[in-house]
Symmetry: C3
């Protein structure tokens, strides 16, 4: 890449910067736009020790969290409107305060407040237990609670782009050895960003991986009458509770105390290159956000509707993945884990776009309609036994 990168952390080289500010003042386009990147380490509470990178490209603000597997902590527009959800957990939460092996298998929830949280790499989805009740794979895996050992940030005046890179390992002697290498890019003055992840099997023996992007919307975008527009090839409710509201799968109600989450699994329609996208927009279509993915990389799409009360976490998750978030052995049995040969690398790309006008929302909706027009959706009224572990 042509960007001028500055290393923030490289544990093998002994580099670690407590603070870093990248605010071009060289008269460049980036400088004129008020672009600013800064890194700090938080102190106190459950955030104590969390490294945070704040990025402001003039129109959009977001954070990247090296300490939490390079997740994206929050996403807002420059005017303060919030696109990401507001978790009842007030983080970001340092992994030292998260016990993934809480015997319930749900310890991951104690750290869950990101806008974009990766679930993986060895496993994701519901916790899996052996016959004796011993926890084998905790909810959503480990990667979001592993810190990056190499992080760099930079800006590319030519491309008018900000770039953040990071490397996170999920390795254990005798077991899998997987490395996530991520590159986040955001252009000057655009309300969009891209994430390119590479997962490499560092081991000399074959490995297996799962990866799901838990992208969580709420704030000023989600509300009564909000809709999801998605190009459907197949859709199915995860369980009977979701099946009961299948006909309203794409419409959101407002916050409702005691609402029990509903999840829908989908295969998205895509273009010839596998590119697809889904669009979440508010009731009047004046604000929206798209999630772009490639079904050749991420063939499974899960929609998490959790329109509970605001204090309990009013949120929807748009979740492209290599698999559906079932217990790992179920996904493995149905061929939805990814095999990696020794040294093999797989790439996964996610695009996020915020649409700040009715025209932009409508433009995005049009693309999805076009993708849909080429596919006649198959609607499963009941959970398919090969998709849903039940």
């Amino acid at each position: 890449m042509a960007a001028k990168m500055q290393t923030l952390c490289d544990t093998q080289a002994g580099i670690y910067l407590n603070t870093l500010d990248v605010a071009p003042d060289d008269g460049s386009e980036l400088a004129k736009a008020g672009v600013r990147i800064k890194k700090r380490t938080l102190g106190g509470g459950v955030s104590d020790g969390v490294d945070v990178i704040w990025v402001d490209n003039g129109v959009m603000r977001f954070t990247v969290l090296p300490t939490r597997g390079m997740g994206i902590g929050s996403l807002s527009l420059a005017d303060g409107r919030r696109i990401g959800w507001r978790s009842p957990i007030r983080g970001p939460v340092h992994p030292k305060f998260v016990n993934l092996y809480d015997p319930s298998g749900l310890g991951w929830l104690d750290g869950f407040d990101e806008f974009l949280c990766r679930c993986g790499l060895e496993s994701n989805g519901a916790p899996e237990f052996d016959a004796a009740g011993k926890l084998l794979y905790p909810l959503h895996g480990k990667i979001a609670n592993h810190p990056a050992h190499r992080v760099a940030i930079g800006s590319d005046d030519a491309a008018q782009e900000i770039v953040i890179t990071g490397e996170v390992d999920e390795s254990r002697l005798f077991f899998s050895k997987l490395r996530l290498t991520t590159t986040v890019r955001v252009k000057l003055g655009e309300s969009s960003l891209s994430v390119r992840d590479e997962v490499t099997n560092l081991a000399a023996t074959p490995g297996e991986m799962e990866l799901l992007y838990h992208i969580n919307f709420g704030g000023d975008l989600l509300g009564e009458g909000a809709r999801l527009i998605a190009p459907i090839k197949q859709i199915a409710p995860r369980n009977a509770h979701a099946a009961a509201d299948l006909d309203r799968w794409d419409v959101y109600s407002g916050p409702k105390t005691g609402f029990v989450e509903q999840v829908y699994f989908m295969e998205l329609a895509a273009d010839a290159n596998g590119r697809s996208q889904t669009l979440l927009c508010n009731r009047d279509g004046s604000l929206g956000a798209s999630v772009h993915c490639n079904v050749q990389q991420l063939p499974c799409f899960s929609l998490w509707k959790n329109t509970a009360a605001a204090d309990d976490g009013y949120v929807t998750g748009l979740e492209p993945g290599t698999n559906f978030p079932n217990p790992r052995s179920f996904e493995q049995k149905h061929g939805r884990t990814v095999r990696l040969e020794p040294g093999e690398t797989r790439a996964f790309e996610i695009g996020l776009e915020v649409h700040d006008s009715a025209a932009a929302v409508e433009h995005s909706a049009g693309i999805i309609r076009e993708l849909q027009s080429a596919a006649s959706p198959l609607v499963h009224r009941d959970p398919p036994t090969d998709w849903c572990a039940g």
Copy 2:
């Protein structure tokens, strides 16, 4: 409050002070008395990263531990006499070194060295397992190992008072969302302090809580012939081992190698407003400490006698609580968990007083005698089945 407060930590506001010293030098009464408050972050060993607030009001010294749920770490008189116990654990211990989900359910013990340690908020008491042996609720709950996300310290010259406040959350998506807000106050030149806690249900759905104050005496106060003076309405041994010494429940032996803990459960007599107190004093009645509570807030009182060898933790715990420290489901079944409506707050107050003369001890004993005179104590020779899980 009229006190001039200074924020030490507020994670949502991005405030965190590494060090802070509040030592009035303005000629005020506080200044003249040599009042001093300071905050530091400890380094090294199991204390690494622990925030500590030291308070000295001229006659008494204690610490408050934001990193350990705003517990009170130690309590001494200004001349160095120690009122709190000396744990075989040399802390304070950072929660990152405590694994609450050690499958034994006893991981909490690895961090236990405070003078006043809160047990709660979702549960306290003995660990609870399901039928398959899976740990559901670890010993004494989570709150003592959760860090405060908001802390302030200040002094109030008018009231001649030092004030420390803190806020600690115990929250999980889909599960309970409880907030502890505590205020500790200590007056100039008085060997006493007060703790006012508020527990709020942050969720939109009803919640349940338990809270027990594990207040641990030892040091220069506890010894052969020390006594507990308490106004008894009902008292019962927790098990057969405690029942065997029921007639000596209020007298302490000296350190005895291999002594096995004995626990007595009580309902305290109280005044018309629910106010009650218990008094621990040494053999000759020259030094004592009272624990004040309100039985309308904290109806259950547990006495922990653990007069083992000094190296093994010679200690007694005076433990006012919403419940007895049985497994959570037992307490729930017997109506001793506290229901909190959405947004509801309950207050709990604890007073601690050190009596540094025979006259002061006798004065306190007199108050308790008066409380007792209005109640004829019911003594259960055996553990009542509704009080003791067995």
Copy 3:
């Protein structure tokens, strides 16, 4: 000791130095030799917060890790040749990122990358579960993930020696209370070091301990044709897989993808005072390393051959111990746990020597041949039932 020591950490005294450099510049012999000791705290990744002491005596470099129970992190010659292994984990790893109670019992592996890692103190060896599958003792115990609360470093010009001391507690109320006090010494210009450990029972009641030194070689020393030379009194394969290659127990193959670890248990021959040693040398005998121990202190010797691919951890462990690394109850049953009376201290000594010439290697081999000549080795073709838990 006559060395001038400087306290680096003493949590009870409130001492903790972020950085320290000891580089004699006083014209002394140490100064002339370029001796240097420094301490830093690492930042970022899984090493975040780890205290490291680097020692360079002119010919050899190693690190001591207060945060990981005073383990020796790495060992190299001054010219950069690596003696220790290269773990697939890139640490050193802070204990806050290691969950010892991962229900598999194998969480310890997440932090395992040291050259010399102590396994103990309450237990070591394979994880032990109760009949219901509950984890009782995790793999290799806790001590490597406990931080030292007292650390000092110094140099002794008269003895031309560098000295590092540390104290680590493994204590829990109601359970065992063990203290490790270690002293590491290295002489000016010698490619050797000594470790003297004392383990004290701090409790007033009897205790039990296990201790095994997991000393891990790889790097430029281990390779195809490398050999272990050990004075054997008895040797046995741990299981059928090791038995199959019993005749080649002392020879190493090169890295081999998919190689499954083979372990051999031994009783070493020793001199009249119990002193013994083993020697690992490369194929042509030009580079070697000896591990010295005393069989009166450490009667059990385990050899871990894990000649897997380099990326998967090509390594051999030479492991003197009080016991064999079986589940704790098996060792206890066979009398290989160490009882400690109240206040009792046991000492354990380990010597490490790097031989950087054929002559030095041959000299060391000669000593071992001499030890062997006095003992006729007993070779168990199958795992003895009292040595191997199976």
